[in-house]
Symmetry: C2
């Protein structure tokens, strides 16, 4: 058995069943092994940003890592931006990066690069498999590392000779390392704050606190104590819809966030961190939390957050409560395609179990209110601010949760970074509806430029303008085998969304906003 | 004057007049400064790989660096693959990477990443501008660093507060650092080898030895001594065509390269390195040079190569010679679109001063023979093996050498990595003809997989297949504002190529091969 075969067998033993690939020359033995050994579903991406973003989306839904297959340092580099997003989402990802043979690296052939150096920025676990006898064990260790709570990116670099040499040994799965739990002091301190109650007690949820079980516990705590429940600004996955606690997020825009969080006196962190602004601005605060607020850590992101919430609810003696009533499902929007109208249509039409992959950037900031009474669904954010995460995330989520419709609310500027995702959606016949929000500009930057104060001239405006030439999204989707149509109104959007939900496979709606 | 303004003024003083941009929020003051201060041509790319690859192509033709404008660590990461190519081409590039304010970085906001760490893999000069008073000087130092012979990637990280703070100071250009020259011993040793002559003396050219003047000197030396002249496998820029020495390159495929370089007894390096194979293969040599060949370094890549060739020619007393006769211009190819026929058409039709941006990968290996008697032109290779360099390089070359037609011989698989280049070509109305070599597969990988020996099954074949769905390149180009048409034969290709050369602006020919 060669190294590549032992690697594939070991990945399988560790539960990896999906590999997003963009292979190159140095990975041919690994490709041949994936070919010979059944069990791993290989999904080709035509650019590495698609591969890594899909691995992120997959694991958010599947709850276990996919492998990626990348080619040398530059191939990894192309995938780093979405690995950065995965790092911020605490998503488990196992990168397999093929590279020069161990004895060829010193010759510094053209494609030789600092692969380990590139990998270090996106996760703490980076290893080069130097020996055929241990590459199987390396794979098991990589999966174990990826699954360390709350999840992280692990990169295993695979020199080609480690792959082709004979003598590979299959490794058994390593145990998932135990997740540390909160200390009694952490629970007690949070309980005391909540018992005192009063205005200004905020429980800030992050990570798995936003999945079904965590939300139900938060709802019990809220019902018993009257505290306010808020979610972090960007989240890997939020359970939403009828019967689930509807949770607002800390807003993106500094002034709006400061207003939203004003009055916070006691901030209890449950798998979250104290909110900081995305960027600093002259003479603006760096956090939306008032300076005099006290911070209490119920559970750090790497602790068992749901367990901590359960202990907290028990300690407080919170009774069980009926699921929250989020009101009635909205009517589909009409007329102009405003954010509110589009969100209403989304809320009116999305099917039970939908997955919303949200890279709507400026346009989508108001989507939550009109979707809280939709059927139960999951909402995925691009977590690291590296744009181009949405389409790959949607692609991976569809593979990680087969049978569920993915609706990708996608800004046009961001979409262009990883537009090759559409091809993979067509090839894999994925049930993804892309709602392409076509405003033909980097709207977020126009807002930021206005903040700078200058009256922008041609040079600045050109740098924020996606027109001249306009991108024809229907043609672009069609060129990669994805059917598409254009909508100018909320009504037309509703018709196309309904149409896309009735058929299988991908569909793109270019929504002119 | 704020820091951003002092930065723009300092770049201008150092001769930077072009900036390829993909800005984000943290760069708004820099954008505003570019807007207010005339003199820098800003070119928007919709993905950072376009930006950095264009900066590479620009500097290869303009002989001076462009600036890039990138957004934080993930934005830089998206540009790393083509910066790797630029590093291997020894292209001067000045990256300006906007980043978190100095005092915001410790808060680890979502977009915070190890920007310096990402930059270190592509060039030795990495600096974070920590102070508004010195950011102008930092810019001058970055340009100076980029121009250190033979050229390199310099990265200046620009925290947003350094940009917006008041107190910027404009810096004068720093002198170009002197290029070290070869020692008399280096020249003497090479001269002795050439004087002894005999079979098996090879002068291997790299870097600027392949520009006009270096080639003329090599031709004189060849005429006087009978040595063989060979170029490195991939080169930043080769002067070619009528009246210029036609130089073969070290082939890519190991066995072919070994055969081509067999009999080499004395290898003289002129701005080149001893050839190594792109990858290692089981039981195959790592270099095409026979083990018993003696190596002599006339000039290292960082030495003044042309000066060394001139001194060598003088020492040898090489007389002036008439320019070489490369034969008569080929007739355009006919019938099936073979590599030879396509090369003949290219040779027959390319205009004087054409720039060939070559990312033709497998299909283009035989292009040289039928283009050596074309009008004078420059030939640019993707130098670092990171695919996706061709289209951005063509884009940048057109801006770096206005008035000259760029012909981008472009493999389809590689094109998909940076396909957003077409939009920039349309916006800037660049005279680029893209010859999209559509074989709908990763042909190079099929060859490599065959070498592995296995009979590939569905899983492996799917990973090398760009069909299912087929990419419609005419539609794809059209979606981004680039006119396009399809050719199935060499004749039809010739008609479309001639058509594209008569019009201005970009055009794409999808050549079915």
């Amino acid at each position: 058995m060669n190294g590549a075969e032992s690697l594939v067998h070991s990945l399988l033993k560790s539960g990896v069943t999906t590999c997003f690939t963009n292979p190159g020359t140095s990975e041919m033995h690994f490709v041949a092994a994936l070919d010979r050994i059944p069990g791993i579903h290989c999904v080709l991406g035509l650019f590495e940003g698609v591969v890594t973003g899909a691995a992120d989306g997959y694991a958010r839904m599947a709850g276990k890592p996919a492998a990626t297959l990348l080619h040398c340092g530059p191939g990894l580099a192309n995938g780093l931006a979405n690995l950065h997003n995965a790092r911020r989402a605490a998503t488990p990802v196992v990168n397999i990066v093929g590279d020069q043979a161990t004895y060829h690296r010193p010759l510094d052939a053209p494609l030789t690069a600092d692969t380990e150096g590139f990998a270090r920025g996106v996760g703490p676990w980076v290893r080069t498999a130097m020996d055929v006898k241990t590459v199987g064990a390396d794979a098991a260790a990589a999966v174990q590392a990826a699954m360390v709570a709350p999840g992280q990116v692990a990169t295993l670099i695979l020199p080609s000779d480690t792959s082709w040499n004979d003598g590979g040994i299959v490794a058994d799965a390593l145990p998932v390392l135990p997740t540390p739990t909160s200390s009694p002091d952490q629970i007690e301190a949070a309980a005391n704050v909540l018992r005192r109650g009063g205005q200004g007690v905020v429980l800030l949820l992050g990570g798995v606190a936003l999945h079904e079980e965590g939300l139900a516990l938060a709802h019990r705590i809220q019902a018993a104590t009257g505290c306010r429940i808020v979610a972090q600004g960007s989240n890997a996955r939020m359970a939403r819809g009828q019967g689930r606690l509807s949770v607002e997020r800390v807003p993106y825009v500094v002034d709006v966030a400061v207003k939203a969080m004003a009055g916070t006196k006691q901030l209890i962190l449950a798998g979250s961190r104290k909110p900081v602004t995305f960027f600093a601005y002259p003479n603006k605060p760096q956090t939306s939390i008032p300076d005099d607020a006290e911070i209490h850590v119920l559970a750090r992101p790497e602790q068992d957050i749901v367990e901590a919430l359960a202990r907290l609810a028990d300690l407080l003696g919170c009774p069980n409560v009926a699921p929250p009533d989020n009101g009635s499902r909205p009517e589909a929007g009409r007329g102009a395609p405003t954010p509110e109208a589009i969100a209403a249509t989304l809320g009116a039409l999305m099917p039970e179990g939908a997955i919303i992959a949200d890279e709507s950037v400026t346009f989508g900031r108001g989507f939550f209110a009109n979707t809280k009474a939709a059927p139960q669904h999951d909402w995925l954010n691009v977590t690291g601010g590296a744009i181009g995460g949405g389409m790959p995330m949607a692609t991976g989520a569809a593979i990680g949760a087969p049978g569920r419709r993915v609706i990708n609310m996608q800004a046009d500027g961001s979409a262009m970074y990883t537009v090759q995702s559409l091809w993979t959606q067509a090839r894999e016949k994925l049930d993804v509806t892309t709602v392409l929000l076509s405003n033909r500009k980097y709207q977020i930057l126009l807002g930021e430029l206005a903040n700078v104060g200058a009256n922008p001239g041609r040079t600045a405006l050109d740098m924020m303008d996606l027109g001249n030439p306009d991108i024809d999204w229907c043609k672009l989707a069609g060129s990669m085998g994805v059917e598409a149509a254009r909508a100018d109104t909320a009504d037309a959007f509703g018709d196309l969304l309904a149409h896309s939900l009735k058929r299988s496979g991908p569909f793109l709606i270019e929504l002119m906003i």
